[in-house]
């Protein structure tokens, strides 16, 4: 840790006398899926005394699932989230494999699912970097709001922005071909898949894969260049020291679909390795805090004080020993060289790691498309019914846990989902406290300054997943309220993009 350690920022979780402080609310967060807000408490000299990220997450999702028949799970869980439905689809499918007593799939089924998953991660990463983050990184955090967006990137960097659109499109096509539809697909079913690829479908994707890989390489180069050109700032911005959690293959290779859990501590030492995720409940607990709807997961062996962790691209690229595709592996080695101990803790390095993974997905898709098993005919297996099913995979934003209990009639009696964004809850809170101390403390707040908070949160690509997007629901509003609760200032951006003060 290059700053003053996590102790200083942890002190900002709860202020001593909050009723005597000014409150600033950033609500809702922009370029973040769903609804969230950040509250800052400031004293009279604008020194930050408290900073919290509040998120309304999968509230009611477990209840939504209870009572449903298990075979519906891979389909209905897609409706939990409009951004990563395929991740929920596959995590639920993995859990239902266990419910019907299938421990390993046919080669065709597993490879079709893996292909679908790589397509999902690729399109998600492309969207996040090119659409949501590149405006900040290319134009700077204080660029005009009207310009700091995807159309601004299209105007100033048309090649970059168009590649982002096309990468996203390619990933969507992989999903469509493996699941039957771009959304609401039914590709994965308990015990397997309901279709394999035809040679025409394989050739259709192969026609573009070399171009996709080339764009993936360019994306890695761009994120690296952007990080290195302002190295000191990018290294220290929102910097925190955390443990890192991810799935990985038994031999240490990156694996987004299946594997054992690995936890590295903040020094890079492996604390847990190849842990069977069926036992996750013994090793990961969730702490409840009165001020947030979202729980705070931690590793039980380290306790709530020291057991929180980060998940997602940063954790995965840090945790794996190697990537089994050549271009992504070369990119991983360059990335890991950033830190002396090989564990990169810089929050903004998420973007770079994300593009390393995008390249891995592109290469992985190419390799799978050349595998004849993809066109096999053995799609599904059956076994003896079980009452418990647990599916875990690496979703674009990090480790995703689905856990179901069913009764003798096959109806869900209990569901527990720990989603990637929940796994990153503690880290996101720590990151905004770091930013609050480093960037905001003692200064008069402005929109560009407050955007620093959002830049830190966006690095994690949180999915708040309400998927309710009805017209006119996404304004930005910042309120400054005095200690008596009276609003003394208000900055807003309405649904037409108009920024004003009243």
């Amino acid at each position: 840790m290059t700053k003053s350690g996590n102790t200083e920022i942890d002190a900002l979780e709860t202020a001593q006398q909050p009723d005597k402080l000014k409150r600033v609310v950033i609500e809702p967060l922009t370029r973040v899926e769903g609804h969230g807000k950040v509250t800052l408490l400031l004293d009279d000299d604008n020194h930050v005394k408290q900073a919290r990220l509040h998120i309304v997450e999968f509230r009611g999702f477990e209840k939504f699932i209870q009572g449903r028949p298990y075979w519906e799970l891979p389909v209905i869980v897609q409706r939990l989230c409009g951004i990563c439905p395929v991740s929920h689809h596959l995590a639920a499918a993995k859990a239902t494999d266990q419910l019907i007593g299938v421990k390993s799939l046919t080669p065709t089924a597993e490879k079709v699912r893996r292909l679908m998953h790589l397509g999902q991660v690729l399109q998600s990463h492309a969207l996040h970097f090119f659409h949501l983050s590149s405006p900040d990184l290319l134009f700077g955090y204080d660029d005009a709001v009207a310009h700091r967006n995807i159309v601004g990137v299209l105007a100033d960097y048309p090649q970059v922005a168009t590649q982002g659109v096309m990468l996203r499109k390619f990933g969507q096509e992989v999903i469509r071909i493996t699941s039957g539809k771009r959304v609401h697909g039914t590709g994965a079913i308990p015990g397997g898949v309901n279709k394999s690829l035809s040679s025409e479908e394989r050739d259709y994707l192969l026609a573009d894969i070399d171009q996709v890989i080339e764009w993936g390489e360019a994306a890695v180069a761009l994120t690296k260049r952007l990080f290195m050109q302002d190295l000191d700032h990018n290294r220290s911005f929102a910097l925190i020291d955390t443990n890192m959690l991810s799935l990985g293959r038994e031999d240490g290779a990156m694996d987004l679909y299946h594997g054992g859990l690995r936890l590295k501590d903040a020094t890079g030492k492996i604390v847990i390795d190849n842990l069977d995720y069926l036992g996750y409940g013994e090793h990961i607990h969730e702490q409840v805090k009165s001020w947030s709807y979202m729980k705070f997961p931690f590793v039980t062996g380290l306790g709530p004080e020291h057991g929180s962790y980060r998940v997602g691209p940063l954790a995965r690229v840090n945790n794996c020993d190697f990537i089994d595709t050549p271009l992504a592996e070369a990119a991983r080695l360059e990335f890991r060289a950033l830190a002396e101990n090989g564990l990169v803790q810089s929050t903004l390095a998420y973007h770079w790691a994300r593009m390393v993974e995008l390249l891995y997905c592109a290469e992985g898709i190419r390799d799978l498309l050349h595998d004849p098993d993809l066109m096999g005919s053995e799609l599904r297996l059956r076994g003896e019914m079980q009452h418990t099913g647990i599916g875990v995979l690496e979703a674009p934003r990090g480790t995703l846990f689905h856990h179901y209990e069913i009764d003798d009639d096959g109806l869900v009696t209990r569901a527990n989902l720990i989603v990637s964004t929940t796994n990153n809850n503690s880290a996101m809170n720590q990151s905004i406290r770091r930013v609050a101390l480093d960037q905001l403390d003692g200064r008069e707040l402005t929109e560009p300054l407050l955007n620093n908070i959002e830049v830190a949160i966006r690095a994690y690509d949180p999915c708040l997943s309400c998927a309710t997007h009805a017209l006119g629901k996404m304004p930005l509003e910042v309120q400054l309220v005095d200690e008596s609760g009276a609003m003394i200032d208000r900055l807003f951006r309405n649904s037409q993009g108009v920024v004003g003060v009243c």
Binding site: R79, Q123, V151, A467, A470, L471, G472, S495
Partner: protein
């Protein structure tokens, strides 16, 4: 890249929303109805129906080679029973969220595709209840029925005018 070179029907109906979130599913629900009308011969087979949870940048590519695009969405501000309005490209606030507005998508289309826009309209159907696990409300369902009649008639009119246009071209060239 070859992915954009697929055969398209002249009309694209793009209904978006989450079917498990009450009235948020109005767009996909209307598409199901219109597809049923087409299958039963009550609506002409001149459209592709596309559903998604939200609009995103890649939907710009779905608008290529179309003559008419209609976005169909639940709306918290539309007038009863529905609003139907022509859209123009606009750089609005929706660039800053995971979900885009139709007008923002048109701006992306112009930039990415570099071609003139097709005629694009937004059909906004008033919605009231958006909680997970809820169904479409009774009031919204009434709007939905009227919107279905409207879209069916729109497609019929469009089909007739296209036929007349083609006959005119045939006469001219003959």
């Amino acid at each position: 890249m070859s992915l954009v070179c697929v055969d398209h029907k002249p009309v694209l109906l793009l209904g978006y929303g989450n079917p498990s979130r009450g009235d948020d599913g109005l767009g996909p629900a209307l598409l199901e109805m219109i597809e049923e009308d087409r299958d039963q011969g009550r609506a002409p087979d001149i459209f592709d129906a596309l559903t998604d949870y939200q609009l995103q940048i890649e939907h710009a590519l779905d608008m290529q080679k179309r003559r008419l695009v209609v976005f169909i969405d639940a709306s918290v501000s539309a007038r009863s029973p529905f609003d139907y309005s022509r859209l123009e490209p606009c750089r609005d606030n929706s660039y800053t969220s995971h979900a885009m507005s139709p007008a923002a998508l048109l701006a992306v289309y112009e930039q990415v595709c570099g071609k003139p826009l097709p005629e694009v309209y937004l059909l906004g159907i008033p919605g009231y209840q958006f909680e997970l696990g809820t169904s479409i409300t009774g009031e919204a369902r009434e709007h939905l029925g009227l919107a279905r009649d409207f879209v069916r008639e729109l497609l019929l009119q469009y089909s007739r005018s296209s036929d007349r246009e083609e006959q005119g071209i045939a006469r001219t060239s003959g």
